[in-house]
């Protein structure tokens, strides 16, 4: 068994875990309290939720992108 590969996987998991907690922290403390769209508007509540959802989606894609780069960096380099 490739012990170095296992070590890399563990590094990836711990890094992604840390980033995930940080991302949820950003969402909880910064994004969620914002009033991005006035809730007094018609459908304002839903538009506000949609914009915040989009921000969360962008953060998730960024998180997956970092995961992708890490795995490619550790494994593709060795595989080629």
């Amino acid at each position: 068994m490739n012990k170095r590969a296992v070590g890399y996987e563990l590094v990836v998991f711990v890094t992604q875990w840390g980033l995930m907690l940080f991302g949820f922290g950003v969402l909880t403390k910064i994004i969620a309290p914002l009033n991005l769209v006035s809730t007094s508007m018609s459908l304002g509540l839903y538009l506000d939720a949609a914009v915040k959802g989009l921000i969360a989606l962008v953060l998730s894609v960024t998180w997956l992108f970092i995961w992708d780069r890490q795995v490619r960096l550790y494994f593709r380099r060795r595989g080629k």
Binding site: M1, N2, A5, V6, Y8, E9, L10, V12, F13, V14, Q16, W17, M20, L21, F24, G25, L27, T28, K29, A32, L45, Y46, A49, K52, G53, A56, L64, W67, D68, V71, R72, F75, R76, R78, G79
Partner: protein, 341 residues
Amino acid sequence: MASLGANTIAILIALGSFPVSLALTRFFMYWNLKHGIIGIDVHKLNRPKIPEMVGVAVPITLVLFAAIYAMVGGSSSIPLLAYCLVVGLAALVGAVDDRLKLRGIFKPLLTLLCGLPVLILGLAFPGQVYTSTLHVPLFGGYHLPVIYPLTILVAVSVTSNTVNMLDPLNGSMAGGISIVAGGLLIGSLLVGAGSTSIFLYASLMFSLLGFLYYNRFPARAFAGNVSQLSIGASVGALAILGRTEIASIVAIFPNIQNSFFFLSRIRRFTEHRELTSKPTKLLPDGRLADSEDPRAPLTLVRTLLIGRPATENEIVSTIWMLFLTSTSLAMITLLLTGVPR
């Protein structure tokens, strides 16, 4: 620790799912073999024929024991009903796929519907099935009245399909998810979660262990989509019912990585059987190796084999070790989140 008595009863009832799952697995091994429901173990040199869809024993056991707990345990039956419907619907989708070999896109689409019971019963009985507040480790939580209910459908579909995708080797799924369920059970006990989620996690773990007895290397029973999808849906439903959303995501990190790299390479929903470029190959000595095909997806198993072949047993043990790591992180996440009430 809150309500130790209720939790003890929950775990004792759940313990019964181990022998029941074991017996049902044995029965379906015999029945499926007799009726020609078989698959070939392609990772063995002699390519043995193994009874397929035997993992149906797990969703049957889960639903059976949820019903028993609803009658004996005295807890609210609404969350248990939602759980049973999710598991049952996902098992149905899996069974249809096993028999009719649906195209890859249908599984994620059909499993989107499997989360509907949680959503509908949650809307009909507010506060009994889920709450729209997401509890975040270290930072408190926030209320998501619009987004949370919509996420339920996606969550069940994602967990069921990602669990479905990481069962290439004997015992990898059953062992991995039993570690996840066991870890989240311990975490839930430590934070004083409700006895229903304690019961459901324990029941999932013991049912999987019963099946694992026959599915471990060298496998005498295959799970089939019927089991993989329903077990994945069970993990998703439990994340919502047990309010362990973020911890559950952490626990299934190995699944997420595997699915993500599969999809990022293939760029469409497809079945493993339809892949022309395989990520691994079987060597003449019976070990598995990286296929070195640049068109093949960088699956979790492939990353573990880069540069060094290994036996199937070694790879499965390593996958379990990775699950143990991600589940440990999930338990820390649960402790950092605090009591999810």
